[in-house]
């Protein structure tokens, strides 16, 4: 993957290795905030922003601090630190700069801190030995993949809400079945890259 072209990374991050549907990262927000397309979209945008920033920042932290000092084993701890601070910072800035967006995102913003998709992304970037450009592209499009999955899922759940579901399957069971069917559908992209 070191020399993978930008385009391959893009397709791979969105479709083939979709963070939610193939890697099963970030399942919590995927199930938690996917009841309405609108909120799902808000969550998607917040995650996109944080993931792109976090991916880029962790790249610098890893290559210019941890590697230089031979402390690669600190990856996980250091990345959590970076992500948590970043989310906090984004929240503070957003509240000041764009109260409307801040209100729209609401509680999802701090929730991203505990979103494993963000940490997973940071670790994967290092694992794949990506360069800076590749890291940024991968981070951004992985997040786009996440947003796409959650918005699609929310669309389906909105339809489910008004359809006649057998009582034992109402609510979460049918949502989980739907998610698994989506995951199987995304399996079809495997041969693409």
């Amino acid at each position: 993957m070191e020399n993978a072209s930008i385009f391959v990374i893009m397709v791979s991050a969105i479709l083939v290795n979709n963070f939610v549907l193939s890697r099963f990262l970030g399942i919590c927000p995927f199930l938690g905030v996917s009841k309405q397309v609108e909120t799902a979209f808000g969550m998607g945008m917040a995650v996109t922003f944080v993931m792109t920033m976090a991916g880029t920042l962790t790249y610098f932290v890893h290559h210019y601090i941890l590697v230089k000092l031979g402390l690669e084993f600190l990856q996980t701890a250091a990345f959590i630190l970076v992500i948590a601070s970043l989310v906090q910072f984004v929240e503070i800035v957003l509240q000041k700069m764009s109260p409307t967006l801040y209100q729209a995102l609401g509680v999802f913003l701090p929730l991203i801190t505990t979103n494993c998709a963000v940490l997973g992304l940071a670790l994967l970037n290092i694992q794949y030995d990506f360069g800076l450009i590749q890291t940024i592209v991968h981070s951004f499009f992985a997040a786009i993949g996440f947003s796409m999955a959650i918005v699609l899922f929310a669309g389906i759940r909105e339809k489910l809400e008004i359809s006649d579901v057998p009582l034992p399957f109402k609510g979460f069971p049918i949502a989980l079945i739907t998610a698994s069917l989506m995951s199987i559908a995304f399996l079809g992209f495997t041969g693409l890259v």
Binding site: V61, I65, L66, L69, L71, F73, L74, A77, A78, L81, V82, S85, Q88, F89, I92, V93, Q95, K96, M97, P99
Partner: protein, 272 residues
């Protein structure tokens, strides 16, 4: 791994944490947003169900509107008098008087009193049934008992009783107005909690026509109007209406009503 590695690792993480912490502290100062502390206080004083009964988008919206002076301090119907007093205190105003209201279903036309014109076999929704020629009931104004109000009630306060009519639990009801809005028959209305006498009919048709369809309907005979000692009940548009400001719950109308369309528990009447 020697001890130095551990110390360096801890040191690096510590320094990073410290840097981020300082950065965040600086950022929160630099980007501090000034929030009126009264907004926070009002927000904490209201119940926080985000039901929207006040007409603002959620409790946050209401709190902001109160502090701006747009919304009245007693604008939260759910919280009632207690909340109004608390909010008024925060705002340094007088709460004024708020009367606790509850929703009441103004219909007694269950199966025995008011039959069906046809059998309805569709989905359990008054809105859907109402589109089929005004619903299955003989009376076009009465409660169909399909439970659209039950579905919208955020407080679990309205249910379909064993007679097949919607019934409000006045203890749970917070007068959020949601059932009143959704009911396609407009058969639910807000009534003061203390009000014991209500006209349990919503039919605006003329007497003979009403009588054909329902045994307990108001036939607009006017007996209640003539017997009321307080001038509190009037027949308007073929339907008796109680002026709750004047009514003393003497329940003379309940006794006199020939069709028993006026409801009231006679054991609770105020004797004069």
């Amino acid at each position: 791994m020697d001890i130095n590695t551990i110390i360096i690792a801890a040191g690096i993480l510590g320094v990073m944490g410290l840097l981020f912490g300082v950065g965040l502290a600086f950022a929160s100062k630099k980007f501090a947003v000034e929030i009126d502390p009264r907004v926070v206080a009002v927000r904490e004083a209201v119940p926080g169900a985000n039901c929207g009964a006040c007409g603002y988008p959620g409790c946050d919206g209401f709190a902001q509107a109160v502090v701006k002076g747009v919304a009245p301090v007693n604008g939260c119907p759910v919280g009632g008098a207690d909340t109004a007093t608390a909010v008024a205190q925060i705002m340094g105003l007088d709460a004024g008087e708020t009367v606790k209201q509850v929703a009441r279903v103004k219909c007694e036309g269950h199966e025995e009193n008011c039959g069906n014109r046809y059998d309805y076999d569709g989905i359990d929704s008054c809105l859907a049934a109402n589109m089929l020629n005004g619903g299955p009931k003989k009376c076009l104004y009465g409660c169909m008992g399909l439970g659209s109000c039950v579905q919208v009630c955020p407080f679990d306060a309205i249910h379909i009783n064993d007679k097949g009519l919607a019934e409000v639990d006045p203890e749970k009801c917070t007068a959020c107005n949601k059932c009143v809005v959704i009911c396609p028959k407009n058969v639910i209305s807000l009534v003061p909690y203390e009000q014991l006498t209500i006209v349990a009919c919503n039919n605006y048709d003329k007497g003979p026509m009403v009588k054909k369809n329902c045994n307990v309907a108001c036939i607009a005979c006017g007996i209640c109007e003539r017997n009321c000692p307080h001038d509190a009940i009037h027949v308007i548009n073929n339907l008796a209406e109680i002026d709750y400001d004047k009514c003393t719950n003497c329940m003379i109308c309940v006794e006199k009503c020939p069709t028993k369309a006026i409801q009231g528990d006679l054991s609770l009447r105020t004797v004069e």
